[in-house]
């Protein structure tokens, strides 16, 4: 993915696009809402909300079960999302797209199923220093059960991975590599293609946490040659409670089920159960059907704008915001990688991030404060947390100006 400025067709009306998100059209604490917490969760356009409502109002039945028409209709709607995801990320086979409840669930699935099957005492799992906790803790849990240990690829002061250290850490003991594509705390775009190629030279599989990448750029899992790729619906204009695990078919086929229950079986007797085929082997129980249908509409919506146009518009806004924030006295941007997406983390001299977040909220500005579920990142910079403005294509220059005014006001407040 490349976030240099691209030519955005002048026919795209970003104001009109913004108006399709009714949630943005409200006041918070008497001020027009400025929503800059898209990294935590993006908003849904009306068309996605309408689709989910229509499903609940007229189409609901359980999927993959009934012979009756309503069930078949629900199944068709739910399954059409799988095809849309396959196209979005360019998966080779439809059954390589596994429905989960989100990125966290996707990573847990791989850690639990693949890890428990293949890890043993003395094995090493490589992660980066900038992982979200969701890509640390599942490996620690499986490590405790199998004796495998975490090894950490460090980053430098700009929040870029020290690739020489990665090559040093790769060894015969390395059994798995799991890396974040775009850092949720710093915005760094990591060189995942290089990491994957180096790991594959040693036949080591790689999982990519793409929660902050898929919503902001074109991701091609075949081009990356990722073995597993995880992301969430609610960060890409879809609903919460739904996510995707992409996995290469030959790997998924060689992995045991993660959870047992309905829908994932072929034949059940009290003596022995045989598993259903992919993808259903990993999809036990009744799924969040409406959310799955909603993700399908969200993908259609993003495609109607074009992922490259979205990436281009967000790059414009990031450049605009970085320029404006850099001019504020006493403001320090944390994470100054050469390649960044969507996120600007920063600190104000002498003002605790939670204090600043409280005042910004009073000004109607929603940013995230704290450690962003990436405590090792905060430890690296020896800071308690940051303020994080995360930008989406439906934000605009006025939002950034309001943020700058809010920051200036916050500074005055604590002087």
């Amino acid at each position: 993915m490349n976030h240099t400025k691209t030519d955005i067709p002048s026919t795209i009306n970003w104001n009109e696009i913004r108006s399709q998100f009714p949630v943005l059209n409200q006041e918070v604490n008497g001020k027009r809402l400025v929503y800059l917490d898209n990294g935590a969760s993006s908003q849904m356009p009306q068309i996605v909300v309408d689709r989910i409502n229509a499903y609940h109002s007229h189409e609901h039945a359980n999927v993959h079960r009934g012979i009756h028409s309503l069930s078949q209709h629900a199944t068709d709607a739910f399954e059409s999302t799988r095809e849309k995801v396959q196209k979005l990320i360019n998966a080779r086979y439809l059954e390589e797209v596994i429905y989960t409840t989100g990125t966290t669930d996707s990573i847990n699935l791989v850690a639990s199923s693949y890890g428990r099957t293949y890890f043993k005492e003395g094995d090493e799992i490589l992660v980066t220093e900038m992982e979200h906790h969701a890509n640390i803790v599942p490996w620690q849990i499986i490590g405790e059960q199998t004796g495998a240990k975490l090894k950490v690829i460090p980053m430098d002061e700009n929040g870029e991975l020290i690739m020489e250290k990665f090559y040093e850490l790769l060894s015969a003991k390395t059994k798995f590599v799991s890396v974040i594509h775009v850092s949720n705390a710093l915005g760094t775009i990591n060189p995942v293609k290089e990491i994957i190629d180096a790991a594959h030279d040693r036949n080591i599989p790689v999982l990519v946490d793409g929660a902050q990448a898929v919503p902001h750029s074109t991701v091609d899992v075949q081009e990356l040659d990722a073995d597993f790729y995880a992301f969430s619906a609610h960060k890409m204009c879809g609903p919460t409670g739904f996510g995707i695990l992409y996995g290469k078919k030959e790997l998924l086929d060689a992995m045991p089920p993660y959870r047992g229950g309905g829908d994932m079986i072929d034949k059940v007797t009290f003596e022995k159960t045989t598993w259903n085929d992919l993808p259903h082997k990993f999809e036990a129980g009744t799924p969040p059907i409406a959310a799955g249908v909603g993700l399908g509409t969200a993908i259609d919506y993003l495609n109607s704008i074009g992922m490259d146009n979205i990436a281009g518009r967000e790059a414009e806004l990031i450049t605009y915001a970085t320029g404006k924030l850099s001019k504020i006295d006493g403001l320090r941007i944390v994470g100054t990688a050469h390649k960044k997406a969507s996120v600007i983390s920063f600190l104000l001299d002498g003002v605790h991030p939670t204090d600043a977040g409280t005042i910004l909220d009073k000004e109607g500005i929603a940013v995230r404060t704290g450690h962003h579920c990436a405590q090792p990142v905060m430890d690296h910079f020896n800071i308690p947390g940051t303020l994080r403005a995360s930008i989406s294509f439906y934000n605009n220059e006025d939002d950034i100006d309001r943020l700058v005014e809010g920051i200036e006001y916050t500074k005055e407040f604590f002087e």
Binding site: H352, P353, T354, I359, K362, T369, G370, P384, G385, F413
Partner: protein
């Protein structure tokens, strides 16, 4: 002072302020006046869990009354912490256990007391009550 009287007094004190700006500035001022917590008390085991900003809390029993000391690295949190210290310090364990800080919502700071809020003033109140319970059992044995 009786604790209910103290609640009323704090509410009256905040009624003087017309908007949130003045209220928050007053809270920050209260925090800056909080009796400093000795350096040796700024340790991991005195940290209140569940706070996005760091809050340290220590308690001691003097006769049958509890004394709290606290600190925070964030200014607004420190102000709220100072209100809690003022509210519960010098009260008996029973009073602390049986009295909730209702003044917090009356002065328009209810959002800070929400158990789901990451700045976790609720965690601090819970920790103060846990101290009070420990002291009560010490007094009755």
């Amino acid at each position: 002072m009786e604790i209910e009287e103290l609640q009323d007094r704090i509410v009256k004190e905040f009624n003087l302020f017309e908007d949130w700006t003045e209220k928050y500035k007053h809270i920050i001022k209260l925090g800056s006046k909080l009796e400093p917590l000795p350096e040796e008390d700024h340790i991991e085991e005195n940290l209140v869990k569940g706070c996005q900003s760091q809050v340290w809390l220590v308690a001691s029993l003097n006769g049958d009354k509890v004394t709290f000391k606290a600190d925070s690295d964030a200014a607004i949190t420190k102000g709220l912490v100072s209100l809690m210290v003022r509210f519960y310090s010098g009260q008996t364990p029973d009073t602390i256990i049986n009295t909730n800080p209702e003044f917090i919502s009356k002065i328009g700071m209810a959002q800070h007391l929400s158990p789901t809020r990451a700045n976790g003033l609720a965690s601090m109140v819970k920790q103060m009550k846990i101290y009070a319970m420990a002291f009560r059992s010490k007094l009755t044995t």
